[in-house]
C-alpha cells in the first residue's frame, strides 16, 4: 500500500450555487478539496481516478474511471441527474439504466455541460438532463426540460460511437467513431453550420473541409482542428458579432498541435512543444501572457485559463473576479498580461475550468 498514490480534486472560484461542492455558498479564493460524503458509499476523496471535469453555468460534473459521474450545484431543473435537494454536495448521477442502483455498472465514458444541462455518454447512448430553451437537450423539437437523464433518440447512428463530446453555453458537439461530427442547441450564430437556426436534435455538420481531430465550443462559435499533424483550423460562427476576431483572425493552421480549448470568446491551440497559439478576446487578459513557461495541459473557462506547465506548476490568467484566477487581481478583477500560480499539495496531473471556476487534480503518495 505504501507506494499507492491517492487522487484529489481541488477547486477555486465562483460557488454561489454550490458548484464547488462545499458546505457553504461563498466564492473560494484559495484552492480547496472537493470530496464526496461517506453516504455515497465510496471513499471520502473523489474516487481513485478522475477522468474529466465539466462545468455549466452553475453546476459541476466529475467523471470517474469506474464509469460513475458525480454532480453538484444548481438543480432546480434536474440538471444534476439525481434527486439531490442539497446544494454543495457531490452526489452520484442516477442513470435510468443503473441496474439495481449499482452505479459501478453505469459505464459513463464522456461528460459535457451547457449552461443548464448535463450530457453523459453511456452504453452507446447520449443522455441529457436539465433545461435549455434553444434545443440544448437534443431530445427533439421544443423539448426544453428533462428532469432525469434521458437518452437522445436515434443517436448516435447505428454502428457508430461517440468519441468526443464538448459543450459550451448553449450548444453541444459530438465527434463520432466514423469521423462524422454532430451538433445541437443554439445555432443562430452559425456555430452549428447551415442553416443558422436553433437545432433541437443532433444534426450532422458536413461543412468542415478536413477529417476532424478535435473540437472546442465557445459561447457562439465552434472550432475544429484537423486530425493530421498539420492542424488545419475551421471556425463556425460567431456570425454578425465577431468583434474579437474569433473567426476572422483565426490562423489557417496550427502545426504540431496536441490540444484544443475555447473560452467563451477565445480559442487556444496547445502544441506538442508546449506553446499556445491563441486568438480572440483579450480585454480581460484571456490570451496567454508573454513569456509563459512551456505548458503540457490547458483548460479554458468562460473568460480565463488554467495551465499545467511542463515543470508541474499550475498557472492561471484572465478574468478572475470570483477568485478563479487566484490572487492578486487588478482593479477590474483581471489577471492580465501576467499569471498567478496556484499551489497544491502533491503532483498536479490535470486541469479543468468552468464559469469563473478552476479545477486541478493532484496525485499524492499515500502514507
Amino acid at each position: 500500500m505504501s507506494n499507492e498514490s491517492s487522487i484529489h480534486l481541488f477547486a477555486i472560484g465562483s460557488n454561489g450555487s454550490g458548484q464547488l461542492a462545499q458546505a457553504h455558498l461563498l466564492d473560494i479564493k484559495t484552492p480547496i478539496e472537493v470530496t464526496i460524503p461517506p453516504t455515497q458509499g465510496v471513499s471520502s476523496t473523489l474516487g481513485s481516478n478522475i477522468v474529466s471535469v465539466a462545468a455549466g453555468g452553475n453546476h459541476t460534473i466529475v467523471l470517474c474511471r469506474d464509469g460513475r459521474a458525480f454532480t453538484s450545484g444548481q438543480n432546480d431543473d434536474g440538471r444534476l441527474g439525481h434527486g439531490g435537494e442539497f446544494q454543495g454536495i457531490m452526489q452520484v448521477v442516477e442513470l435510468p439504466l443503473s441496474p439495481a442502483r449499482d452505479h459501478l455498472l453505469d459505464g459513463i465514458t464522456h461528460i459535457a455541460a451547457t449552461w443548464s444541462a448535463t450530457f453523459l455518454v453511456a452504453h452507446g447512448m447520449v443522455y441529457s438532463c436539465g433545461s435549455g430553451d434553444r434545443g440544448e437537450l437534443g431530445q427533439g423539437p421544443q423539448v426544453t426540460r428533462s428532469g432525469t437523464p434521458t437518452a437522445i433518440p436515434n443517436f448516435p447512428p447505428d454502428g457508430t460511437q461517440v468519441t468526443q463530446l464538448q459543450g459550451c453555453m448553449a450548444h453541444v458537439l459530438a465527434v463520432l467513431s466514423d469521423g462524422s461530427v454532430y451538433g445541437w442547441g443554439s445555432g443562430r450564430k452559425g456555430q452549428l453550420g447551415e442553416p443558422s437556426i436553433d437545432v433541437w436534435e443532433p444534426r450532422r455538420i458536413d461543412c468542415v473541409p478536413f477529417c476532424v481531430g478535435s473540437t472546442a465550443c465557445g459561447k457562439d462559435f465552434t472550432c475544429f482542428i484537423s486530425a493530421s499533424d498539420d492542424g488545419e483550423i475551421c471556425v463556425l460562427g460567431p456570425r454578425s458579432n465577431d468583434r474579437f476576431g474569433v473567426q476572422c483572425a483565426a490562423p489557417v493552421a496550427a502545426p504540431g498541435w496536441s490540444g484544443l480549448a475555447a473560452s467563451w470568446g477565445s480559442i487556444y491551440v496547445l502544441t506538442s512543444s508546449g506553446d499556445i497559439v491563441a486568438w480572440g478576446r483579450d480585454d480581460h487578459g484571456q490570451l496567454p501572457p508573454a513569456n509563459l513557461p512551456s505548458v503540457q495541459k490547458l483548460a479554458a473557462g468562460s473568460e480565463h485559463c488554467i495551465a499545467l506547465t511542463s515543470t508541474g506548476q499550475v498557472l492561471v490568467w484572465g478574468w478572475g473576479e470570483h477568485g478563479n484566477c487566484g490572487e492578486p487581481i487588478d482593479e477590474r478583477g483581471d489577471v492580465k498580461g501576467r499569471w498567478n500560480k496556484l499551489s497544491a499539495p502533491g503532483t498536479v496531473c490535470a486541469v479543468y475550468a468552468g464559469c469563473a471556476t478552476s479545477f486541478f487534480v493532484t496525485s499524492k503518495r499515500a502514507g
Binding site: 450555487s17 453555468g57 452553475n58 449552461w115 454578425s240 468562460s302 470570483h322 469563473a356
Partner: protein, 83 residues
C-alpha cells in the same frame, strides 16, 4: 457608462424573456445572468447588468419591436401582474 465595462453586445432575440418577472436575461460568464426589465428597455435603457459581478452587456433591440405593455399576449402569467 464606460465602454470598457461592456462585456458584449447581445441581440434581444438571443435573450430569454421571463414573463413573470418581465425581464430579459442572458448568461454571464460568472454563472449569474445579465438582466434588464422590459420597462427599462421601453424607456431607452440598453445596458443589462449582472447582479453578481461587474460585467454588463448592451442589448441590441428596436423599441418598436418590443412586446406591447397592454393588450398584448393574454396568457395566465399576464394575469398575475397587477397594474
Amino acid at each position: 457608462m464606460s465602454e470598457e465595462n461592456i462585456y458584449d453586445e447581445i441581440e434581444i432575440e438571443d435573450m430569454t424573456f421571463d414573463s413573470v418577472l418581465q425581464t430579459y436575461h442572458y448568461p454571464c460568464p460568472c454563472g449569474d445572468r445579465f438582466e434588464i426589465n422590459i420597462e427599462d428597455l421601453r424607456d431607452g435603457e440598453e445596458i443589462a447588468v449582472c447582479p453578481s459581478c461587474s460585467l454588463m452587456i448592451r442589448v441590441i433591440f428596436d423599441v418598436d419591436d418590443l412586446p406591447k405593455p397592454e393588450g398584448g399576449a393574454t396568457g395566465q402569467a399576464q394575469q398575475v401582474v397587477a397594474v
